[in-house]
Symmetry: C2
Subunit: 311 residues, 2 copies
């Protein structure tokens, strides 16, 4: 996708160096993080220099290739094959996301106003993304589209990452407080919701960023189609329902504090809440299949109750 | 209510000086703003030094009394009466809120877990508040209560003001991202939702802080009682339904930026979003009466479809 007029993937391998867009610095600074060793690549994943299902998968693959290359027994031929396989996995991810874009764009009419939650854009994958890929495809088909960007507290991936991607691709958009999504749905201003997914259970239940469930319930209440865009690799047929998906509880500072840029361009952490207050911070929620209109995969748009048809 | 062990009202008149808790500094600094002239009192209302329906009403009443006292024709007797009337209005506000607390507390069982949105606490009124008044009453009745505090983006009145009040009164609570409210409702962790109201139409539709509608829909979907606590003065029988209530659009910086305290205790504004992104910022939304279980007033708990019984 485009950054300052140049095409970038989110993560790629360049002569043994794993290169990735340093995501915590977005939207304020665009910088490529370079990792020469698998330990450093692992650290980058852990500290969320790279984030998002597809992008993490590709970075991990490249890290394994780096580990193989670093092995002392000189198995160069095998190692080179491992690196080539990691590249193939990354290419497959990008191709699946591009197919999701083409299929999803068929659902987007000219003048469509789409609401999205969190960042399931190209920054979360190797290229194109999932929830945003249909938006980019529709835009390139010269359709007029507008995106309501849920800021997506607590980490604000919407305000930081999705908005930044949309700026790069020249897509008309407005950031809104997550609280305002229902207001615009009820007003008739939202024609469609598209989100990504971290994991989809066999029955079509969808685990995704906290708040996805809220937006899905509101979409149903207001008769608005709610699509989940994800490659078929996200579907876990061994997980019968969303009830079996554990929910990560993250640090409370993500809720009590906020990172941002001061007027003198310094990136600082500020505290919003009283020193004595605690926070709860579930990272994900589960949206039951009944709220999901369809799952946009690289193989077609599938009803959540019909995932078995894929296997 | 209690601040550092001492009782304070939010706003009061002391020998011609209007004194009020300086709310933009909460939760980081507790300071009393003093206004000696009606022009200054008007400025304090405009810049939200004082905020919330009841507190603004009382401040405005005191401001009118200040203006009368400042009149050049020396009508001292009449002026003193005006000041005494403003005090009576403030006392009435506090008494109504206290009655709301007593009535609302009857709905709160021991061990109850309550979710609230925004700040309809004593900082929004002269004393006690509305949505939080039943919580304070239940707490003083020695019931065990826990409050989920929606942080309430964009201005974070939940994280800043409600959490600070609950600290002062010693009420067990956790701040959550607004996105997590639905998660806890679906999990069965929320027994009741109580919010305030800015205006209630004759048909029971409720205008309140942006996001109230979302939480009301989610409460209904999960079979959780959704109460609105407000004095009867909030009910506008001349407004037939919520459709006639205009929604204020506030400045986009409230969404794109955030105020907070740095580690060196400096209060700064930081930007979250890309410089090129815009935001939409509706301040309020309307919750249709169908989602409201009951309206807790000083005269009793009333079904939203039954407001005419009050007149």
């Amino acid at each position: 996708m485009q950054v300052n007029g140049k095409h970038y993937r989110t993560v790629w391998l360049d002569e043994g160096i794993v290169k990735m867009i340093n995501q915590p610095l977005i939207p304020h600074t665009f910088e490529i993080f370079e990792s020469a060793a698998y330990e450093e690549t692992a650290w980058a994943i852990k500290t969320m220099v790279v984030r998002g299902a597809g992008a993490i998968g590709a970075a991990a693959g490249f890290g394994v290739a780096q580990a193989a290359l670093a092995a002392p027994d000189g198995r160069i031929a095998a190692d080179m094959r491992e690196a080539a396989e990691a590249k193939a996995i990354a290419d497959e991810d990008a191709a699946a996301c591009q197919a999701i874009g083409q299929l999803g764009a068929e659902q987007i009419d000219d003048g469509c106003r789409i609401l999205t939650h969190c960042n399931a854009g190209w920054l979360a994958f190797v290229d194109w993304g999932t929830a945003l890929s249909p938006v980019y495809a529709a835009k390139r088909q010269k359709k007029k589209v507008f995106v309501f960007v849920d800021e997506t507290r607590p980490r604000c991936q919407g305000a930081r990452l999705t908005a930044w991607e949309l700026c790069g691709e020249g897509v008309d958009h407005a950031i809104i407080a997550d609280n305002a999504a229902g207001f615009y749905m009820r007003k008739g201003d939202v024609h469609m919701v598209i989100t990504g997914a971290d994991r989809i259970a066999a029955n079509g239940d969808v685990a995704n960023k906290i708040g996805t469930y809220e937006k899905a319930v509101l979409a149903k209440e207001n008769g608005i189609p709610f699509y989940v865009a994800a490659p078929t690799s996200t579907i876990d047929m061994l997980c019968p329902s969303g009830d079996g998906i554990p929910i990560e509880e993250r640090g409370e500072d993500e809720v009590l504090c906020m990172f941002g840029l001061t007027e003198s361009s310094e990136l600082v952490k500020v505290r919003l809440a009283p020193q004595r207050s605690k926070a709860h911070n579930p990272a994900f929620d589960v949206t039951p299949a009944q709220y999901v209109t369809g799952i946009i995969t690289e193989k077609g748009i599938i009803k959540p109750g019909n995932l078995k048809s894929l296997s």
